[in-house]
């Protein structure tokens, strides 16, 4: 408070809050100049203390334990059941849609059916450029497009390497430039392709490791980190290609291909 030193001010508050007659008299005698201020503060503090509100204590109704969880539990269970039902419905309808969709047209170029395994550690082989027919014979279909760099034969044999590096090797051998779309994730792969067209190798890798190689002209390939399951397994006019065989460690041996064998 202005005009009163902080020490006297604090003492005055202490005295009025104590409300002891002797202390009050002593303070008034010691600081007669502050008698009025002391009286004002005493009235203030007494008034404040006398204003303490009192109420008869109403009865407290303790809420029953577990009442709210009991209410919550069915809601939680109901929500979970509803969520589960929705997920099941989505899965079943998705499955039904796949079952009902017509099979891919047979006039494909790059369908790469699984071939019998040649190696003891279950590495599967894929024969490129072959198309099985209904009578069990393998027909060779003609590529309608003229040969491009994508048709160049490449040989890659890596036990453990980055997918990006393997694609780079294929592209390098086929004199292609590669561009990776955003989101492409590198991963360690094992791959063996011996003398197969670059597009087949890329398609096989793409099918196994979740990307699609899109031809951008004759000398450029765009690697998109996504598979299009609805797309027929053909080389579209744009030049993109893929194959459906899920082979994790692909081995493509041209000796298994009648076309290559004829060469």
């Amino acid at each position: 408070m202005s005009g009163i030193s902080s020490q006297i001010d604090e003492t005055m508050w202490s005295v009025v809050e104590l409300d002891d007659p002797r202390a009050l008299d002593e303070f008034a005698a010691r600081y007669p100049a502050y008698r009025d201020e002391l009286a004002k503060r005493l009235k203030l503090v007494r008034g404040m203390k006398s204003a303490i509100p009192h109420r008869p204590v109403p009865r407290f109704h303790v809420p029953t334990r577990g009442a709210r969880p009991a209410l919550r539990r069915p809601i939680l269970v109901g929500s979970l059941a509803l969520g589960l039902a929705l997920v099941s419905f989505a899965m079943v309808s998705n499955y039904m849609r796949r079952e009902q969709s017509p099979p891919a047209p047979p006039s494909t170029v790059n369908q790469l059916p699984k071939s019998p395994s040649l190696e003891p550690h279950q590495r599967k082989e894929v024969a490129p450029q072959t198309l099985p027919t209904g009578d069990g014979q393998a027909n060779v279909t003609k590529d309608p497009d003229p040969p491009t760099n994508l048709d160049r034969h490449v040989t890659v044999d890596v036990k453990s390497a980055g997918l990006r590096g393997v694609i780079g090797q294929i592209a390098s051998q086929a004199a292609l430039s590669v561009e990776f779309a955003p989101g492409f994730e590198d991963q360690l792969v094992r791959a063996t392709y011996i003398g197969v067209p670059a597009k087949d190798a890329l398609a096989d890798l793409g099918q196994n490791f979740g990307f699609t190689a899109l031809a951008q002209g004759e000398r450029k390939v765009l690697i998109v980190p996504a598979l299009d399951p609805g797309r027929p397994v053909t080389t579209p006019p744009s030049g993109s290609f893929s194959e459906p065989s899920p082979v994790k460690s692909p081995v493509i041996d041209p000796g298994f291909s009648p076309k290559e064998g004829n060469n």
Binding site: E10, G47, M48, H54, P63
Partner: protein
């Protein structure tokens, strides 16, 4: 099992007695919680009334405060005093409600308050109107610290624990609130 009634009532306000009751209440002894409620009802009501300046609202908030305390008793840190934890809930909840009331543009005139306070059957009949008026002119935080000090007679350490600050900070807050209260009181008298 109801055992809280066996406790000496004089022990209830001690830290040991309070802790014992809290332990019992946590274990499901509703009688123990009821004892805590009866012990601290008036002090909690004083805090809520001091901040809200309205007896009916304060009563409602006190019930809410005890319900919150009952619900969250397991979360209560046993190293602290139950009373300061309870008062802290009361202060926070009352300030929150007071601000909400401001937004609702609810105004309580001095006449309303005095009438309510004086005419109410349970309220003390000798409340200085200037005190009510001065309190209504203060900020909620100032009213809280004054209420804790003058009405609940808490120590600076307990005020600090209730307001979530040190005892030194509580002392400073009290000094400033008291100074503003004195000015408002003198203004109300003149």
């Amino acid at each position: 099992m109801v055992v809280s009634r066996l406790l000496d009532p004089a022990l209830l306000t001690t830290a040991t007695g309070e802790q014992w009751l809290v332990d019992r209440a946590v274990k499901g002894d509703e009688e123990a919680f009821r004892t805590l409620y009866e012990t601290y009802y008036n002090k909690t009501f004083a805090i809520c009334k001091g901040i809200l300046l309205n007896s009916e609202e304060a009563e409602d908030i006190v019930q809410e405060v005890f319900l919150l305390a009952h619900k969250n008793l397991r979360r209560f840190d046993r190293r602290a005093k139950f009373s300061t934890w309870l008062f802290r809930i009361a202060v926070n909840r009352s300030i929150q409600e007071s601000r909400k009331s401001k937004y609702k543009a609810q105004t309580y005139t001095l006449t309303d308050e005095v009438t309510d306070t004086v005419a109410g059957p349970e309220e003390p009949s000798t409340v200085d109107p200037a005190i009510e008026s001065a309190m209504s002119r203060l900020h909620e935080a100032d009213r809280a610290v004054l209420t804790l000090f003058y009405w609940d007679e808490l120590s600076l350490e307990d005020i600090g624990a209730t307001l979530g600050c040190s005892s030194n900070a509580a002392k400073t807050r009290l000094f400033r609130a008291r100074e503003r209260f004195r000015e408002a009181y003198e203004g109300a008298l003149s």
